[in-house]
Subunit: 221 residues, 6 copies
Amino acid sequence: MPTLLVINPNSNLAVTAGIDTAVSGLRSGLGADISVVGLDGTPFGIETQRDVEAVATPVAEHVAAHGDAYDAFVIACFSDPGLHAAREATDRPVLGIAQSGLLTALSLGESIGVISIGSGSLARHWRTYRSMGIAARVAADLPLGATVAELADTTRLGDRMLATGRRLVHDHGAAVLVLGCAGMAHYRADLERSLGVTVVDPTQAACAHALGAAALGYRTR
Amino acid sequence: MPTLLVINPNSNLAVTAGIDTAVSGLRSGLGADISVVGLDGTPFGIETQRDVEAVATPVAEHVAAHGDAYDAFVIACFSDPGLHAAREATDRPVLGIAQSGLLTALSLGESIGVISIGSGSLARHWRTYRSMGIAARVAADLPLGATVAELADTTRLGDRMLATGRRLVHDHGAAVLVLGCAGMAHYRADLERSLGVTVVDPTQAACAHALGAAALGYRTR
Amino acid sequence: MPTLLVINPNSNLAVTAGIDTAVSGLRSGLGADISVVGLDGTPFGIETQRDVEAVATPVAEHVAAHGDAYDAFVIACFSDPGLHAAREATDRPVLGIAQSGLLTALSLGESIGVISIGSGSLARHWRTYRSMGIAARVAADLPLGATVAELADTTRLGDRMLATGRRLVHDHGAAVLVLGCAGMAHYRADLERSLGVTVVDPTQAACAHALGAAALGYRTR
Amino acid sequence: MPTLLVINPNSNLAVTAGIDTAVSGLRSGLGADISVVGLDGTPFGIETQRDVEAVATPVAEHVAAHGDAYDAFVIACFSDPGLHAAREATDRPVLGIAQSGLLTALSLGESIGVISIGSGSLARHWRTYRSMGIAARVAADLPLGATVAELADTTRLGDRMLATGRRLVHDHGAAVLVLGCAGMAHYRADLERSLGVTVVDPTQAACAHALGAAALGYRTR
Amino acid sequence: MPTLLVINPNSNLAVTAGIDTAVSGLRSGLGADISVVGLDGTPFGIETQRDVEAVATPVAEHVAAHGDAYDAFVIACFSDPGLHAAREATDRPVLGIAQSGLLTALSLGESIGVISIGSGSLARHWRTYRSMGIAARVAADLPLGATVAELADTTRLGDRMLATGRRLVHDHGAAVLVLGCAGMAHYRADLERSLGVTVVDPTQAACAHALGAAALGYRTR
Amino acid sequence: MPTLLVINPNSNLAVTAGIDTAVSGLRSGLGADISVVGLDGTPFGIETQRDVEAVATPVAEHVAAHGDAYDAFVIACFSDPGLHAAREATDRPVLGIAQSGLLTALSLGESIGVISIGSGSLARHWRTYRSMGIAARVAADLPLGATVAELADTTRLGDRMLATGRRLVHDHGAAVLVLGCAGMAHYRADLERSLGVTVVDPTQAACAHALGAAALGYRTR
């Protein structure tokens, strides 16, 4: 069974713990060996482009430093910070959760709806959708108007999350939802139950991708 | 560990056996439980649109008949015959190897090169690339000028396969190759060694996707 | 004057009769020789992907069996079932009503609005729009929320049809409407009168295309 | 039977006569009533953007002056000069040969190859392909390196025409060719015989479109 | 300092004067030598395609006649009439305000919102956006429902202008606005103050482009 | 006259000096006040994604530290490192040379050819072209196969530069060339003279953009 390292590029321990919980289903279901780590000295949340740039090099350096210790790496932030630099640093596959979450959603249904934390990340997200060449499949990307810190409290954002998901499905015709942040996995089950569509947590999706990539000997360099 | 059923929608036993061999690395590497089956009464190879249409309903019916017996299904023909009909027939995830192979390649590198059997399938492939909304990432799709039957003999097509892959990488700038047929997996290792790029066998990629989909509770209905 | 065969790939006699009426203007206006036929043993309506797959081979076989008896063929279902297989079966031109209806609309105005029967066909339609490479010109595709059976009763769906057309024109800026089903032609005149835009019945459009294709010696093989 | 007026917006009588000959098959095959007229005082050929602009208003005014005398109008220059202005001038359908030729080709095969007179028109053509939203289906547009005057002599350009068509089919994978000028129809038969693909003369295609548009009551206003 | 000629291709003296005022900031800020001229005998406003065609040749001829007298030329109508013909007529750079306004906006923010005078120009605008290959970056183009004549009265259209801009920003997510007419510059300051986004007057943008083009020796021929 | 700061995000003094020379024409021609600065502690050249990430934060911090001292900022590296972070750091306009160079080229001709240093930057460039939504206008991006260090010696790379430009123009139909690096400006004159097309040095283009942006009060925040 391949070993994975999931890097949470912020210093928010609750997010790191949430990711650890989110991937437990892959551990039990596939017997996967998945480690999750945060990065000291990084921002509490990745909300601005400045935050994205600040963690890119630390992420790549962390991968470089552990390039032989794991079979594959996952960068657990929806801006995929440092993805291409990390790929230069190791022969092992390195996956970003935005890319993996979106591509996984494309394999499940016609059009994608993305739930983002705040409106400040929408321009960055659309640059990614277009850069990936898949923008025609993204029905809409709607912001919750929340902060990374607020995400931790399920009871607080649950209603807003559901209302946003409902608009994506009913008004924009999304067939699959993607959670546009590494810290939203705990909302997945409720959303699926209420809305009747598959909801992709991008970190889970990237870990599944990474397991396959490691088992099949793919490289991203 | 989820159970997968891989359906080879032709009646060519060598292809069915080749698929079985191709996914053995996922069995040993991930401990996956993968069954491979051919379909009686189908064409020997899927080379024309008539062949594609002929197997679509049998594929969907096979999925419908075994919808409760496996955790996920893979349709192992690069035309993804019957994919959307099969998805209507079960709550479990159903994946097509063209979609999964292409989306996996998109997660590994900038632009994709596809090696196809014959020129007769190129128009059909491009309809798929555009239908998926990813055509901007496909550098080229080059035909071998071979038949399904010829694929079985490695020594015979090896040189042509390598020359085609080399043109995709050097002339068209492909960063990742996708084998455009379910019966080409045995060429993967040689191509990777000679060309220095990752080569995606679409059936392997779809099985890895399906394992994740089953473990994470995705639905494609 | 070329002879055309229009194949209604369902077994709904009212739809077959409606198509026959819809093309009568081409018979009188252009003196065209147009035969319309239904296919026994097919579904009553083509509403699911399973229905689409079920009729693809019968359509292609019907064309193959009559390949010398008509100068051109039209497949009268907005999913264009069996189109590419039928083209392999004859030297004469074979046209699908979705392709012809959409391309005709593109020659008449800037952006297209499509009125579909139910929401279940939207994903299939968008795969077609993208596959054709014309999705940028489709303003919206809105469902009536009706069944094929309900379409026969003009008084019943007339209001809903008009409301849907109005939304396409006023909210989505459609300059031309396309009826997204072979069985909606009898609503065309009312829609045009009420909305002031051209409404393309795709079967009429495909027959006009087919007359030209036959007269000009085009081939689709 | 509807009456059509085909407007050749240059003053080259040989081109006007060639168009008249080119549409004779539609007259005999469909019994169509097609008149062809040149415009006095216009350039001998439409080769520059200055030429295109020079004829736009005369074309629109000619349509306006005869708006009641014909059932539909065709503008027979591959730059579609004055198309949108002419549409403002009459309730009857007005079609341009570039739009109709290209859309007709899209109904016949996967990807289009265009044979243009000179390299000076390529930028203008690509603006049209993108403006129409169909550029993804245009495999290539290759210039003959000829002048409008040279086109009249079949023996002179026949070899170059054939060589250009062959490159479009063999090197660029075009499944259908479009003649990128109103004065190339007399090369069509030879090209089809030699290359084995359908070759669309855009004026013929537009006349067939216009007959259908008139018979079916379409409007382009 | 380069000398520019800005050509207002209509005969509305208020628009010519408004343009002269609009570029005064470039004169004082950059010391630019900018002349503004209207064209006699042209329509009072460019509102229809007929108007666009009517001024194309006069614009090109005006550029041809003054090709040596200025270092660069700007065509000050959002339909860029005669742009490509004018480029054929001089070695000096000729810029259209639609192209320059839109490209400038693309350099400032993620997605563009355009405020147009009337709904009659939307189809023409979208042909331009697609022709330029930038339609993916245009969030929306909303009409004021005004005439060129009404634009002159700030107090009259100010509220409607603001409401339209607000919809572009809040409902369509536009990050930058473009004024879709040469006669709207006097609304720019109010819109920016009220909406908090940059508003591009296309004539100002084109003059800035033209200054750079002249200083750097670019050619558009 | 606005004041500009051009930031060369590498520590190669020859490149900084070359940029200073390249913008001297804007100083003399427009009287512009342009300062050019390198960044200590950065790589000698920006050739890998690691290099791009390494300089993003220093660039943004340099802009933040001098946000009040200049009217506009230009980031002089064709990867536009730190562009979006720098925009968060100041109210003044910040432009990247890749964006400005490409958008300027789009205002000058139909299709763009880019000359890049090495093949390692092609994937990064295409991500940018797609991210900007302008990939349809990029004819080709061809690498010189050189290093940043080699660029300094005109005699050494002149022939290769010319051969690459010739291929872009003749084989790929590029109407305008863009130099894909901040250190190539000294090749511009020779290329234009030999090839007869406009060659855009992206730093010059960005400075012209920035002068306009500052004079017109645009913001990029």
